[in-house]
């Protein structure tokens, strides 16, 4: 039993270390994104946008991918961008060149809403 505990303890340490590395890696990635021309992704799954709120630096290209069996659209509430119908696995991209908050929704299923925050 003791050996078993020890093993779990070791595993936990390894997981914690991996998580730390991942966190460090993520910070590095965010720093890199501050340069123009970076990209970010939003996945459409189960009639929802993920992440619902996405924060990106100015100049980021955001790409939406529809992974549902039903078509969706990505339409800016303020008329800034508007996709065509995205069938399964179709993508739509938009370059955010100005800071601001961009709310959007699926014009076919308006309960689906999201926003892109450009800093």
């Amino acid at each position: 039993m003791k050996r078993e505990f020890a093993r779990i303890g070791l595993a936990s340490v390894v997981v914690a270390l991996l998580a730390m590395f991942a966190a460090v890696g993520h910070v590095g990635g965010a720093a890199a994104q501050e340069k123009a021309g970076t990209s970010a992704e939003v996945k459409i799954d189960n009639f929802s946008f993920g992440p619902t709120a996405l924060t990106v630096p100015v100049g980021t290209t955001v790409t939406w991918t529809n992974r549902d069996d039903i078509p969706h659209t990505v339409v800016s509430t303020d008329g800034v961008f508007k996709s065509k119908a995205l069938d399964t696995d179709d993508k739509f991209s938009f370059v955010f060149s100005k800071p601001g908050t961009y709310p959007y929704f699926c014009s076919i299923h308006p309960k689906m809403t999201g926003q892109v925050i450009v800093q």
Partner: protein, 322 residues
């Protein structure tokens, strides 16, 4: 669903095999075929399993029509790789009805992606129906990308605004409403001020005894707002119909049969001819529900409606495709 049989007659006051409380069970077994008759605002129900006991004279009305919905032509995913075949099966079913319907109502989502070839295929298949006249309202899939312009070019001749209209058939007043355009972020289906004004004027001159049938794609009652299954301004629309003794509201959109009675208004949603969707809240999302291939046709269907004058009766029969 034969275990439901014992539940269907609870209080048979008129010895006619039907009762009001039994209606509550109607929804539960409607999927396997049920007949719901509305008389004086009270919906009464029969089970298809007792079809041989029905009084044919009561069922045969002066007006008979069939509703189909959500054909989603162009859909080709696992939930139904051949939606053309199941639409053809629906047409065969309609053609085999003992009382031939005079016309068809299609309550929207004719197409899956509003592509011209999808509409063409549906038109071609519907030409096989014995009933030649088809009345449409658009679903949200039919207006993708152009807010319904193509839909109206094809199906909207003589309609108002975004495609709404009314017509008379044998003294019954039919109203086709559009609640799938100009949808607002975070909202539900939407009729809009212009359409509501038109509706109010459309029914103003009608006698209160005129039977009314309203048809629209998204339910005009709050089925499950969390999934967008409702219409934001439907209460306003229904307020104009309060004076009428018999109002039937036929919808699609949710790919399953549901009924509700509120005063003199009977709400009914039809099955899809393409694929089923989950019961409200019973899945992560309202996306297409996969069932074993051999069960698919049992969860698709058509709706047959008979109107019987004098009795204020509207008999709504849902039949599965297989």
């Amino acid at each position: 669903m034969s275990q439901s049989r014992k539940d269907e007659i609870l209080h048979d006051h008129n010895q006619d095999g039907i009762d009001r409380r039994g209606f509550l069970k109607c929804m539960a077994w409607a999927g396997t075929g049920a007949l719901c008759v509305m008389q004086g605002g009270v919906l009464k129900s029969y089970s298809m399993s007792r079809a041989n006991e029905w009084n044919a004279a009561k069922m045969t009305g002066e007006l008979s029509f069939a509703q189909i919905s959500d054909s989603h032509m162009g859909f080709n995913k696992a939930a139904n790789p051949d939606v053309a075949a199941t639409l053809k099966a629906a047409v065969d079913k309609i053609n085999a009805l003992s009382v031939p319907p005079e016309f068809l109502l299609h309550t929207g989502d004719i197409s899956h992606l509003a592509r011209p070839e999808e509409f063409d295929t549906v038109d071609q298949i519907l030409k096989g129906a014995v009933a030649k006249e088809v009345f449409f309202v658009p679903g949200e899939h039919d207006v993708i990308g152009d807010e319904g312009k193509q839909y109206r070019d094809r199906y909207g001749k003589g309609t108002q605004g975004e495609g709404w209209y009314s017509f008379e058939k044998r003294g019954v007043h039919f109203i086709g409403l559009v609640n799938v355009v100009n949808l607002k972020a975070g909202g539900l289906g939407n009729l809009g001020g212009e359409q509501l004004e038109w509706l109010e004027a459309d029914v103003k001159q009608l006698k209160a005894s005129t039977p009314i049938v309203v048809f629209a794609h998204i339910p005009l009652w709050s089925v499950y707002p969390e999934w967008g299954w409702g219409t934001d301004d439907s209460a306003q629309a229904l307020s104009y119909l309060k004076k009428f003794g018999s109002v039937s509201v036929l919808n699609g959109h949710i790919h399953q049969i549901m009924q509700k009675v509120e005063g003199n208004v009977t709400f009914h949603t039809a099955a899809s001819t393409a694929f089923p969707q989950p019961q409200p809240g019973k899945a992560d999302s309202p996306g297409p529900m996969k069932v074993p291939a051999e069960q698919l046709r049992s969860v698709l269907g058509i709706t047959d409606v008979n109107f019987v004058r004098g009795q204020h009766a509207l008999a709504i029969v849902d039949s599965q495709l297989g």
